[in-house]
């Protein structure tokens, strides 16, 4: 080593400088990956198709709920939070905006994540990528953040569009609190879609074929949006059977088992949190006995109170994202990437 002299010493210092990111804020390599992925997402055909699909569904649902609201809004006394009702009320023909998002949101995450790693592998770009002086996890981090940013952008565009339509139809401008509630609603929706993004990105690490990970993701999506509800009902019946003339205790227990099983599903967590966030009149998300509400005033909750109510649901979604991301991370770090 001693005779290798100055030349190598200089080179080493240069290398050390190269391993730090120029901005200093991001781990080295995350930013270029994020930029590239974001560019891919935003210019890709996929983004346009998704925006069109979700956009049409949302506009249609808000239009229909707006029409329904127009008929009743001004007769309803107080007419509070009419603007938010646009998003949660279902019209005559169509389900509400929120339930559309609960159903179609996962599809956004799936579409952006299902081939994120296995396509790099099959294109032969992955081995080139990880032989650059970046940490391997920068690839996962950059891709996930780019997906999340794309989702956020898409949802903001969507909400603005829908809110604009609602404003024209109902003619009641949102109050400050309503705007705040909407902003939090967007954040929770990004989190919800992010949950599916993390799940499908995990699948894209596990499965070599993009088609396999797409199918697996869609299977999970269908399970949670359609079948889980049916299964939960059956399971609750088995665990806490309801006799023909149930006592109070028996029905409460049945209901509790049902809700806690139901809350294993991200779709339920999301629906519950958006319901409480967008409708201040929702005062509880669990079983409420008549005794508990006996002397309560049926007044709407303040924003902090609504947030407090849905906090467990939000934490549940965050935990899901963290777990899926961490598992994908561990698998990817251990994998030996061959051309």
């Amino acid at each position: 080593m001693a005779e290798e002299g100055k030349d190598n010493g200089r080179r080493t210092r240069e290398d050390a400088a190269r391993t730090r990111s120029p901005g200093g804020l991001w781990p080295v390599g995350v930013r270029p990956v994020l930029h590239k992925e974001l560019g891919d997402h935003l210019t890709g055909l996929r983004f346009g198709i998704l925006l069109l699909l979700v956009g049409v569904a949302s506009l249609a649902s808000v239009y229909s709920s707006g029409q329904a609201l127009r008929e009743v809004a001004f007769q309803a006394e107080g007419a509070r939070n009419v603007f938010l009702a646009l998003f949660t009320a279902s019209g005559k023909q169509l389900p509400s905006f929120v339930s559309f998002l609960a159903f179609l949101g996962p599809l956004l995450g799936i579409a952006l994540g299902f081939d994120s790693l296995n396509s790099e592998r099959s294109q032969g770009t992955l081995s080139r990528l990880i032989s650059q002086p970046i940490h391997r996890d920068a690839v996962l981090d950059g891709k996930f953040l780019a997906g999340l940013a794309t989702i956020a952008l898409m949802l903001i565009v969507l909400i603005l569009l829908v809110a604009g339509l609602g404003l024209i139809m109902v003619g009641v401008p949102p109050s400050l609190e309503e705007v705040l509630r909407l902003i939090i609603f967007v954040l929770v929706t990004v989190l919800y879609v992010g949950f599916w993004l993390a799940l499908t990105q995990l699948f894209s690490v596990i499965f070599r074929q993009s088609s396999t990970s797409a199918l697996a993701s869609i299977a999970v999506w269908l399970f949670f949006t359609i079948f889980a509800g049916l299964l939960v009902g059956l399971a609750a019946d088995a665990l806490a059977p309801l006799p023909s003339a149930p006592t109070m205790a028996e029905s409460v227990r049945h209901e509790e088992v049902l809700t806690s099983l139901d809350r294993l599903s991200p779709v339920t967590l999301y629906s519950e949190s958006t319901t409480a966030l967008l409708n201040p009149n929702v005062r509880s998300l669990g079983v409420l006995l008549p005794q508990q509400v006996e002397r309560a005033l049926a007044s709407p909750l303040a924003l902090e109170q609504s947030l407090l109510l849905v906090w467990p649901q939000i934490v549940g979604l965050i935990a899901g994202v963290v777990v899926f991301f961490a598992v994908g991370y561990v698998l990817f770090m251990r994998e030996e990437v061959r051309a």
């Binding site: 080179r11 080493t12 050390a16 190269r18 032969g124 032989s131 650059q132 002086p133 030996e336 051309a339």
Partner: protein, 322 residues
């Protein structure tokens, strides 16, 4: 090791990689000098790619260690990867991006400032002959163009070491020649150390200063191609072909040959015997047979020429895989 004058920029000591029961690389001691073109040769599945991955810090050795440009790939993979340009086997590019955009992404991953990157890209694209295709989508590139873009991609960080994994696969003869000339030129003009793996010895032998032959994870021989044969000869038994005219009784001849001192093994080929022995037995054999009135009409000591190296090691290694 007789080459003290030059520095070794890549060296491994007892480098071993085990996948469950399979030993992919077995106690590899290798040393590559600064500025040389080193051919890393061996049949498919010999452990070449695994070795390269370990040099880059992309996989960890089971035991042993490596040093690349003064860094340990296990401990400082980023330092290694910022001075090593790597062209993987079957290199791929983002099909929707142009050749230039693909290069610029790699430049950004290396933290190269935009203006510097632009200059380097222009120069490199010209050098690999892609200046006219640079703004076309990389998905439309031919195999040869991809390979040349791969070289530009590996060079954009201005590496001091270039590692190419099976770079000639899938190229036509002209393409191979041009490609090898390009590499030779890079090594000559920029003083880059090149390590190039291949399973086709005769394709790459002319541009390699030295070659190392890897078979089943073990390094069989290292050195300039011309001296390889001698090394292999020295390390193994000597093989003599000896044949007689029809007047000689085959059984008597065989007995006489078996009686020679140092003979290990005797096999009957179509018109001669192949005698495996500890040393060169030509003189002893001829005088002993002459004494018994049997005159050999064919006598040859088998050498390891390039072809023998190829046949002996490479075929042997390839065939079991089908």
């Amino acid at each position: 090791m007789g080459r003290e004058a030059e520095q070794s920029v890549v060296s491994t000591r007892g480098l071993t990689k085990r996948y469950r029961e399979v030993v992919a690389v077995d106690g590899l001691d290798l040393s590559v000098d600064e500025g040389e073109v080193f051919g890393f040769l061996g049949p498919n599945g010999a452990g070449k790619t695994t070795t390269i991955l370990m040099l880059l810090g992309l996989t960890e050795p089971t035991t042993g260690s490596a040093e690349v440009a003064g860094h340990d790939p296990v401990r400082e993979p980023l330092a290694v990867k910022s001075v090593v340009g790597y062209l993987p086997e079957n290199v791929g590019f983002y099909p929707d991006l142009t050749g230039r955009q693909n290069l610029s992404f790699t430049a950004r991953l290396n933290g190269i400032p935009r203006r510097v990157a632009e200059e380097r890209m222009d120069a490199l694209l010209r050098q690999v002959g892609l200046e006219n295709a640079a703004d076309r989508a990389a998905g439309k590139y031919s195999r040869g163009m991809r390979q040349r873009l791969g070289i530009a991609d590996a060079l954009i960080k201005e590496p001091s070491i270039l590692i190419l994994d099976e770079p000639t696969i899938g190229l036509d003869p002209d393409g191979i020649r041009e490609f090898l000339e390009l590499i030779r030129g890079l090594s000559r003009d920029r003083g880059i150390t090149v390590i190039l793996s291949s399973h086709l010895l005769h394709q790459v032998q002319e541009i390699c200063d030295r070659v190392g032959i890897l078979v089943r994870g073990k390094l069989m021989a290292v050195g300039p191609v011309e001296t390889l044969g001698r090394q292999l000869d020295a390390g193994s038994d000597s093989k003599m072909e000896i044949g007689f005219g029809p007047e000689v009784n085959a059984e008597e001849a065989e007995q006489a040959l078996r009686g020679l001192q140092g003979v290990q093994d005797l096999t009957r080929e179509t018109d001669y015997w192949l005698v495996r022995s500890d040393g060169d037995l030509r003189r002893e054999a001829v005088s002993a047979l002459w004494g018994r009135g049997m005159v050999p009409v064919h006598l040859r000591l088998r050498h390891y020429g390039l072809n023998e190296i190829y046949v002996h090691y490479f075929r042997e290694g390839v065939e079991p895989r089908g």
